[in-house]
């Protein structure tokens, strides 16, 4: 190993070159994203089945969601995807300070998303639009409205956890960027976190019309 002339510090011993390492990381990330899609797939399936069984209730119940907050959050997340993409672009151009700025912007937007979500959730808790046996709201006509809120909280809750996971990952690459671990030659982790963040965004893009824009 010591003989090899070009052996950058970030190249792990079991890869023969940087290209192989980068390709592997990317491919692995895509496979991981596939598993995430399938994890949500179960919930989308449950959504489809219960919406087919209770079409009127789903229509009535969706009106209880705050469409303004939902729309705002959609724009916030799309904006965060843009800043995430820009942070990668900056790293490719070796502009570390810009990268740091864009990563912080992404984090800030993610926080805004969660704050808006917090207001939505606390309103629902307040009026009793809750899953299953905790459902105490009376203003929604149709069969089994508690199921809608079970699915709503299940889907947005799991998505919220993914936002938190994504934020932790962004903090991790932010620290590494500050510590000058990345350069235009090597920025794979930033790229991977970017891919993950786009998926989190994309899932919301599906959740938003399914939950907020019925009918």
């Amino acid at each position: 190993m010591s003989e090899s002339h070009t052996h950058p510090a970030h190249l792990a011993h079991h890869f023969s070159d940087v290209e192989q390492q980068r390709e592997s990381a990317k491919f692995g990330m895509w496979v991981f994203l596939l598993t995430e899609v399938l994890l949500f797939g179960g919930l989308f399936m449950a959504y489809a089945i219960y919406r087919a069984w209770n079409p009127d209730m789903f229509y009535n119940a969706h009106k209880a969601l705050n469409i303004y907050m939902g729309t705002a959050n959609t724009f916030v997340l799309i904006a965060s995807s843009v800043t995430m993409a820009l942070s990668i672009r900056s790293m490719q151009l070796d502009k570390r300070k810009q990268t740091i700025g864009f990563l912080i912007a992404t984090l800030a937007l993610a926080c805004i998303f969660l704050v808006i979500k917090y207001f939505e959730y606390s309103h629902k808790f307040h009026v009793g639009q809750l899953p299953g046996k905790y459902y105490s709201y009376t203003g929604i006509k149709g069969t089994n409205p508690h199921i809608f809120f079970g699915i709503y909280f299940g889907m947005t809750g799991l998505h919220g956890l993914h936002v938190l996971a994504g934020m932790s990952a962004i903090v991790w690459v932010l620290i590494k960027t500050v510590k000058k671990k990345f350069s235009a030659e090597y920025y794979t982790p930033v790229e991977m976190v970017g891919l993950y963040w786009h998926l989190v965004d994309l899932i919301w893009i599906f959740l938003f019309p399914l939950l907020y824009l019925i009918g």
Partner: protein, 537 residues
């Protein structure tokens, strides 16, 4: 290189317990997995012996109905989630996949170690549930019972959820490793067939396991918040749980059997010293099985109120699984034809696999047929069927692989005589235990009962005696394998005369797998072109 350096291998270099606990070496992680799944296998085996002991006589003699329900649930859950799913891929696969493709390690060594500790963490939840009232739902956790029972369902399902991540990470790692880490010149059609099987397995692990994850999460929601999704009183549907559950758990059956089939391909070729017949057919039938496995889950719900049309379609699709499975068996037997067959212990396991798996597969066709299934559903026939596939298939293949690669893993030979004795006991004990259950089932003995009618006693007693023979076989195996580690004869680098890369390195292999990176000079089964001798007799 000096002599002292040459003797170093992955077992003694580096030294110290920390070098094991934090190891990133796929071989050591494979050994850690091997030790853990062996422990799980013995735990599950103890439960199995207890079940058979209770069933020796009708009526209650060892345990009451509630305890019995817990014991058979634990037997199933431990054997499936802790033993058989990780068994071949995570233990033998981890050790040998990189060696087989000439790589220094898997693509993501840290993820590999993480998957092991996630496995340990998930297992702790399962063990915790045993001490806090166990679970009595059966390993399938069917609703509505699983949402109502007072037993410790949440720790067990949480354990299974966590174990799922371990399985996903192993699968993900293997997919990337197989795509990106092969040495130059090793094209897809030069991959050893075990690698193809691991690849097909990994696809199922990655695609199906997340669905199990969300299913178990929904079950936990249902228990904690009574969401109502699986509760008919609240507008939910318990059969939906069955759909979700089997969407994972049927493909999971192929997570269990496919790697076993991969091992059998290696064993049959090596011990016949003949080029494998129908290489591409075997390789693609692995992928075919993986694909079809996602389309047949409804055959578990023929009597759950599924629509007749759906049942017919699922029945038809289930029959399709027989095609790729049949292709494999056909090609293995054709490989044997006019081969120079050596009846070493691993080969004896491979031959018993052929015999037992064929019975297991064929009875699966019976159960996939609608009318027959109505009669046999939830009887001992089903129990016998899946034990012929899982134990007669996967466990036999695992034991074959273990005996095949033992000299490579530890550099020691086990006692030939005792290994044959143990093999015979396992084979005979298995058939005594489970063939009787085919008959019991066809006579109407329902599964999951601690008690039975007097008329079933002779066959039940017969089956229980079989479990003792099996137990004796495994105890002997444990003794001679452990003995071999300390007192065994030193194994040569290529005791069986294999052509795949793991035999081209030391026994045991050095830390970085190969002293010299291997070159692709011949295919994995080119016995027609290369002369190799079996050195160990």
């Amino acid at each position: 290189m000096s002599e002292a350096v040459a003797e170093k291998n992955y077992l003694n270099d580096p030294k110290g317990w920390k070098s094991w606990v934090f190891t990133l070496d796929h071989k050591r992680i494979g050994i850690l997995y091997l030790a853990s799944i062996t422990a799980a296998f013995f735990l599950g085996g103890v439960f199995a012996v207890l079940i058979r002991l209770e069933l020796l006589n009708p009526g209650q003699d060892l345990m009451g109905p509630d305890t019995y329900n817990q014991i058979f649930t634990l037997h199933g859950a431990v054997m499936i989630f802790l033993f058989i799913i990780p068994s071949i891929p995570a233990a033998l696969g981890n050790f040998f996949l990189p060696l087989l493709i000439g790589a220094k390690d898997v693509a993501f060594p840290r993820l590999n170690l993480a998957s092991y500790y996630i496995y340990v963490f998930g297992s702790m939840f399962a063990v915790y549930s045993i001490f806090t009232g166990a679970v009595d739902t059966g390993w399938t956790f069917y609703t509505p019972y699983s949402t109502e029972t007072q037993t410790s369902v949440i720790p067990m399902t949480l354990g299974a959820f966590i174990l799922g991540f371990s399985s996903i990470f192993t699968g993900l790692n293997f997919i990337v490793t197989i795509h990106k880490m092969r040495i130059p010149g090793m094209t897809w059609y030069k991959l050893p067939l075990f690698v193809w099987a691991l690849y097909a397995t990994a696809i199922i692990q990655v695609v199906a396991t997340p669905v199990l994850g969300i299913t178990l999460l929904l079950l936990i929601f249902e228990r904690v918040f009574s969401v109502g999704i699986f509760n008919p009183d609240m507008g939910g549907d318990p059969v939906l749980f069955q759909h979700f559950f089997w969407f994972y758990s049927h493909p999971a059956v192929y997570i269990m059997i496919l790697p076993g089939m991969g091992i059998i391909s290696e064993l049959i070729a090596t011990f016949s010293h003949k080029k494998i017949f129908g290489y591409k057919a075997i390789a693609f039938s692995s992928l075919g099985i993986a694909f079809i496995s996602f389309l047949v889950w409804g055959h578990h719900m023929f009597v759950s109120g599924q629509s007749e049309l759906a049942a017919m379609i699922f029945s038809f699709l289930t029959f399709l699984v027989g095609i790729p499975s049949g292709i494999k068996v056909f090609n293995w037997i054709t490989t044997l034809y006019k081969g120079q067959i050596h009846f070493d212990t691993p080969m004896l396991y491979a031959l018993s696999f052929l015999f037992l798996f064929t019975i297991g597969g064929l009875t699966g066709i019976f159960l996939g047929a609608l009318a027959t299934d109505v009669h046999l559903h939830d009887t001992y026939f089903v129990v016998a069927h899946f034990h012929y596939v899982m134990m007669g298939g996967t466990v036999m293949a695992f034991l074959g692989g273990l005996h095949y690669w033992w000299p490579k893993m530890f550099g020691k030979m086990y006692n030939h005589f005792w290994s044959v004795i143990a093999m015979i006991l396992v084979f005979v004990g298995f058939n005594v235990t489970f063939f009787s259950q085919f008959i019991l089932g066809s006579q109407g003995m329902p599964r999951r009962y601690y008690n039975y009618l007097d008329q079933f006693q002779p066959l039940h007693a017969f089956s229980t005696i079989g479990s003792w023979i099996l137990g004796a076989g495994f105890i002997i195996m444990a003794i001679y394998l452990i003995h071999s580690l300390f007192k065994g004869r030193k194994a040569s680098d290529n005791p069986w005369g294999g052509l795949t890369f793991e035999w081209a390195t030391g026994s045991p292999p050095p830390h970085h797998n190969f002293k010299v990176t291997p070159k692709m000079t011949h295919g994995p089964y080119d016995y027609d072109k290369v002369l190799v001798e079996q050195t160990d007799y």
